[in-house]
Every structure is written in C-alpha cells, then in structure tokens.
Amino acid sequence: MKLTELIQKLNLSVRSAKGHLEREITGGYASDLLSDVLANCKEGNIWITLQIHQNIAAVASMKDLVGIILVNGREPEPETIEKAEAENIPVMVSELPTFELVGKLYNLGVSGLEE
C-alpha cells in the first residue's frame, strides 16, 4: 500500500514532506525508544510514536523509513518539521491512541513481521 492511500484511509494530517507520499509501505513498527527503532524498524516501514522532538526525523532518515505517525493528536515541534522537510520524511498526525491506530493499520494489511 502507498502512503497516500494510508493517509486517506486513516484520516492523517500531513505536517512535512508533502511531496514524498508516493512510497510503498513495507510494514510497520510502534515504539517510543529511538534506539529500539534503530535496531528493529525496517527500511520502508511506517513508524508510530508519541515522540515529537526533532530526533525522530534523524532516526527515520537513518533507517530510510517511509514516514512517521504521531499519535494522540500530538503535534511535531517546529524544529521537527524543519528537519523532516530537509530529510524528506513525511510526519503525520493521528487523533487516535497507539493501540487503536496500530489495530487499524494491521486491518489494512500493514504487518510488523517480514513476509
């Protein structure tokens, strides 16, 4: 599934890198520990977190992630948007809490395990 499709189906608000929403999603990972994401998230994954500071953009860029979804309607810090723009990382906001959002993602066919 493409990121654009996901944005539409989950009613996400895009906060950065609006020109980079055409990538294919390979899977998903939910974590608020950056080192955990660096260790376990896979290239092309979508990352679900409540962290909003600018290091999430760096982490997503390191792992070539397809984008970051912030939960509970948490807004990224201005520096985060700036950094994410520079790294072409789409940061999106969902009103849902992590549990609900991940459930919906799973139902849409986004898996946490490699096929």
Binding site: L34, S35, A39, Q51, Q54, N55, M62, K63
Partner: protein, 312 residues
C-alpha cells in the same frame, strides 16, 4: 550548456511531448442553440477569446471573438451561435506530438486549437501557444533536476582515483548536551556516504552506529569528535570524548542497561540499547574507557560483509 544544445533539446521535446500532456482539460463549451446575445455575456465573464461549440457530445464548430465582432458590425438580429460559428474547425488529436500543434499554429495563425480524441472524436481539451511554452518549461525543469542528482551520485568513486592506496577522512565535532543538534553528524555522514555511492546497507550500518555513538556523547559527555576513515574495503569510525568514562564497560554493553536520567529516557533516548546497536552494525568494535579521562570507541564496517543481509 551551450545555447545550441538547448535548442536541440527543445526540438527533441516537441516530438516527445504529446498534445494531451500540455493542453487545458477543463474546457468551457457552448451549445449551437445558445444565442449570440448570451455568448456576449460568456465571453465578457470568462474573458475567452473563443470557445468550442458542442452538440450532443460532438464538436460542431468554434465561435471566437472575431465571429462575435463580425456579427456586431453587421448589426444583425440575435440568432443562435450555429449560424455564425466557424464550422470547419482545425483540430488536433491528443496523442499527436507538440510539433504538429506548432506547425498548425504557424500555418493558420490561430490562437487556439481544439483537441479531440482519435477514437471517438470527442472533445478532450484546448491548446494555446502559451500551453506549449508552459509544458516545455516544466519538462526542462524536471530534466534539469534529474541531471543535478545524477551528477551528485559519484558512483564507484574510488575506481576513478589512480593511486596505490586511497583514503578519505571526515571529521565531525559533537557538542555535549545539545539535543537540538544531536544526530546531525550522523545525518551529514550518511548523506556524504550516499553521495560517494556506497552500498545502501553499508551506509545505513555506518550511519546507525555513528548516530548511537553521537547520542552517547550528547547525553553523557561534554562533547567530543568523530573521525571517519573511508577506504574501498572498509569504513572506520573513531569516536572520542574526554569524560566522564564508563565504570563497567561489560555492563554498559548489555542490552537494556542504562544510567540515563529519567528526563532523557522520556525523550526516547538512553534505553540502554545504543552500544548493542553499534555492536550489531559493526563488523568489528572496540571500546576503551577510563573513568575521569574519557572513552574511545572504534567501529569498523567492512564493505564486503556490510553489504550482505542486514542483521539489524
């Protein structure tokens, strides 16, 4: 680029780009039964210089400002458009190259040409000289961007260097406790390695290991520096700081062990996985630390092993 090249590029593009790609698609049309008095309002309101006349989905003519002026000048009675429109309309097919459109414009001196579908003759759009210029400019811009990125990608960089041994050295300064700029060194290093055309897997391993090391300097030390040595067969990252040092290196290497304060953990750092992540990314790793003096970390990523399946 020389001006001559540009011209030939445009000549190439006018054959490559199709009329359908640059034409305006949402076209305002009128019925042949519309009266000339109504047309006046439409032309005034929409500021058109002409518009296609459509009957039952088919193009039957075109009515222009010239036709309208002629009708005014002749001081005739109000009548349907069908009596005054130009019936013999010059059309283009949407799949024709731009060069056909340019030729037609030159030959007939029209301001606009109606574009129809080759299969069913239905109206597809309208094209003006302005649309052609706009389409060409857009295409040139895209090509220019592609060219720029291609130039940056220095593939097989080392193959172009004629020497018995070639080494590239990069130096980065890390400022302690500066969470605003934390990770910048690793980001810059990653961008650099990418441009050098290193294998994406190798680049990612080096970048992640460097990021974790950089974060350790930011969280626990007053700063330090990172030196990176790039050779055709391996990348060596040396990270140095001047304190406080790690009391128990073995313990620090255990996944999950952390001495980070609560507020740092709340930011998502200090999970006790950094050194373990580095170990997973590295082909070889060495950590030496003296309490009160500082820590030296050597991370080696071999190009051959690094390009194999990612372990983390």
């Amino acid at each position: 680029m020389a001006p001559n090249n540009k011209i030939s590029k445009i000549q190439e593009l006018v054959y490559e780009i199709k009329v359908g790609e640059v034409m305006k698609k949402d076209v305002f049309t009128v019925s042949p039964r519309t009266h000339m008095s109504v047309l006046r309002l439409i032309l005034q309101d929409k500021r058109f210089s002409g518009t296609p006349v459509i009957d039952k989905g088919k193009l039957v003519g075109i009515i222009s400002v010239e036709d309208f002026i002629k009708w005014l000048a002749d001081r005739e009675q109000d009548c349907p458009i069908s009596e005054k429109m130009t019936r013999c309309v010059r059309t283009l097919y949407a799949d024709e190259p731009l060069t056909h459109a340019i030729n037609k414009f030159e030959r007939h001196g029209f301001g606009r040409l109606v574009v129809i579908d080759r299969q069913n003759g239905k109206l597809r759009g309208i094209i003006t000289k302005g649309d052609i210029v706009e389409g060409l400019l857009k295409k040139l811009e895209v090509d220019y961007d592609d060219d720029e990125t291609r130039r940056r990608r220095i593939r097989h960089f080392f193959e172009d260097i004629l020497a018995d041994k070639a080494t590239l050295l990069f130096h980065y300064d890390v400022i302690g406790h500066d969470f605003q700029r934390a990770g910048e060194c690793a980001s810059r290093l990653k961008a650099t390695l990418k441009r050098l055309g290193l294998h994406p897997q190798v680049t990612r391993r080096v970048a992640i290991a460097t990021y974790e090391a950089e974060m350790n300097l930011v969280i626990y030390t007053d700063g330090g520096h990172i030196r990176v040595r790039v050779e055709p067969h391996e990348i060596l990252v040396r990270v140095e700081d001047s304190g406080p040092g790690i009391p128990d290196v073995e313990k620090a290497m255990q996944p999950g062990y952390s001495t980070a304060p609560e507020w740092i953990r709340e930011l998502g750092f200090g999970a006790g996985m950094g050194l373990d992540n580095i170990r997973k990314c590295a082909s070889k790793m060495a950590l030496r630390s003296t309490v009160g003096k500082g820590t030296r970390l050597r991370i080696c990523v071999s190009v051959e092993n690094g390009a194999e399946n990612e372990t983390n």
